[in-house]
């Protein structure tokens, strides 16, 4: 059952990435755009712990890197760290509904910030500080809208796949 949960998590993240690239990335929303990948990763990590967060973050980040034109490994590094940090909060997830919400928002902000920092260190000319701040804030705000929709679905999936583990937590 555990392997099944791994496959489902991977499929969820890949689906999120594809939707992000084909649908969300082409929307011209005010302020900025939500990032489905980071929100999904935060949900998975906060439910399953830091190891899942780190490894899935690395994996989906690497895939996203391969599909983009920036330096390979940048998103892998960022999402790996973000997933790990989100996973650290997994012990508090049942305490309040605000925990996944805050985790997703913080993950979005941190992902944008770290990705931009990474780019700045490597001399990526596309990084502009004020732009980065605005995008981090808007992405965090959009995650507050999307997480309440995504988190219950993902949580229900994991509970069905691995009831014993859900009990243990």
């Amino acid at each position: 059952m555990r392997a099944f949960a791994v496959v489902i998590s991977g499929m969820l993240l890949v689906l999120a990435l594809l939707l992000q690239l084909t649908l969300v990335g082409q929307l011209d929303l005010p302020l900025g755009r939500p990032d489905l990948v980071v929100i999904t990763l935060a949900c998975v990590a906060v439910l399953q712990g830091p190891m899942w967060g780190a490894s899935f973050g690395f994996g989906i980040g690497l895939l996203a890197d391969l599909l983009s034109d920036h330096t390979l490994g940048r998103l892998a590094l960022v999402l790996c760290l973000v997933g790990y940090a989100a996973g650290m909060l997994s012990r508090d997830v049942d305490r309040s509904v605000l925990v996944p919400l805050a985790t997703a928002a913080a993950a979005c902000g941190a992902a944008v910030g770290m990705f931009a920092l990474c780019g700045a260190l490597m001399g990526d000319p596309r990084v502009a500080p004020d732009d980065v701040a605005g995008r981090a804030v808007s992405m965090a705000l959009y995650s507050l809208v999307l997480t309440p929709l995504l988190f219950p679905v993902i949580a229900a999936l994991f509970r069905r796949l691995d009831p014993a583990r859900a009990e243990r937590r």
Partner: protein, 324 residues
């Protein structure tokens, strides 16, 4: 599965791998990583294309909602621009029409040797359909005085009756109270043209011994006030005169009084009578005699007429100053 030694080790390994990848990709311009990348991209491209066929209706619908405001603004902007352009076009056409009318006026004035003041009709003072006067935007400031002929490029329009500083009232030739001295083309046969109704004037030939027939054309006779030689109209039909001595003919004016816009007021007439020069040449015109400089009625050869029964009599007035 908390924050254990294992998970920390995993994190460190993953971060190290990420740094390795970054370094490799940053340093190398091609090689195995770019090959991997292009392979993944082409694979993902296929998947993305499949996904986007599903999601593109959604994304189109969402963006159309977003764009509806922008589209409406754009549509308003464009329709405003179209209206402006149409207005400009109308103004341009009007200006071109006016320029053409003015140049025709100028041509007529040059042909006749008249000194003209161009004017535009500002108002028609058609009260109860009984009075045929118009107000034009030229007055005594530009040298207009009462009793001057008003013409356009087709011919006689009327004459000024009241003159203000910048406006004048013009009595159209079709007004029943308008009487203007006229003579037949190519002869000195004298008469007067009275207004009857728009589209029809009445020519009264003073000298019953002269011949008038349909198709004859009339020009103004000229007097102390009036310029001579302005085309008036064509005789269409002879009418039995009630007054007995004179002969009456209906005249179709050259000017369409309903559609007069630009006119010119003849403020000074030439030193010599322009004669019939202003009439458009007839297609197969018999050689017209040169215009006589002294417009004196000379009823020398009273030809035998068929219409009148009264004996021929001399014209009542020689200089024929039109009564107004």
């Amino acid at each position: 599965m908390r924050d254990t030694r294992r998970s920390r080790l995993l994190l460190v390994v993953l971060v190290a791998v990420a740094f390795l990848l970054i370094t490799l990709d940053y340093r190398s311009d091609g090689g195995i990583l770019s090959g991997l990348r292009s392979g993944v991209s082409s694979l993902a491209g296929r998947v993305e294309r499949g996904v986007s066929t599903i999601t593109s209706p959604i994304s189109n619908a969402l963006s159309s909602i977003q764009d509806s405001g922008r589209d409406r603004r754009r549509a308003e902007q464009l329709s405003q621009q179209l209206a402006d352009a149409n207005q400009q076009l109308a103004q341009l056409q009007d200006a071109r029409r006016q320029a053409a009318a003015l140049s025709r006026l100028r041509l007529v004035a040059d042909k006749g040797g008249y000194t003209i003041v161009p004017a535009r009709i500002m108002a028609t003072d058609d009260q109860l359909g009984l009075e045929w006067t118009v107000t034009v935007d030229a007055g005594s400031d530009t040298g207009v005085r009462p009793g001057m002929l008003v013409i356009n490029s087709d011919g006689l329009v009327g004459s000024t009756v009241r003159v203000g500083a910048t406006t004048s009232v013009v009595r159209l030739a079709c007004d029943p109270t308008s009487h203007i001295g006229a003579r037949l083309e190519g002869s000195q046969a004298l008469g007067k043209v009275d207004g009857e109704r728009p589209g029809e004037l009445l020519f009264t030939l003073y000298d019953a011994g002269q011949r008038v027939k349909p198709g004859d054309r009339l020009v103004t006779f000229g007097s102390a006030d009036y310029a001579a030689g302005v085309p008036i109209g064509t005789v269409t039909r002879l009418r039995d005169g009630g007054s007995g001595l004179a002969r009456l003919a209906e005249v179709r004016p050259f000017v369409s009084f309903g559609s007069v816009d630009l006119v010119s007021i003849v403020v000074a007439k030439p030193a010599t009578n322009p004669g019939d020069r202003l009439l458009t040449p007839r297609p197969v015109a018999p050689p017209t005699p040169p215009p006589a400089p002294a417009p004196q009625p000379l009823p020398t050869l009273p030809t035998q007429q068929t219409l009148p029964t009264q004996p021929a009599q001399a014209a009542p007035a020689a200089g024929a100053v039109p009564s107004r």
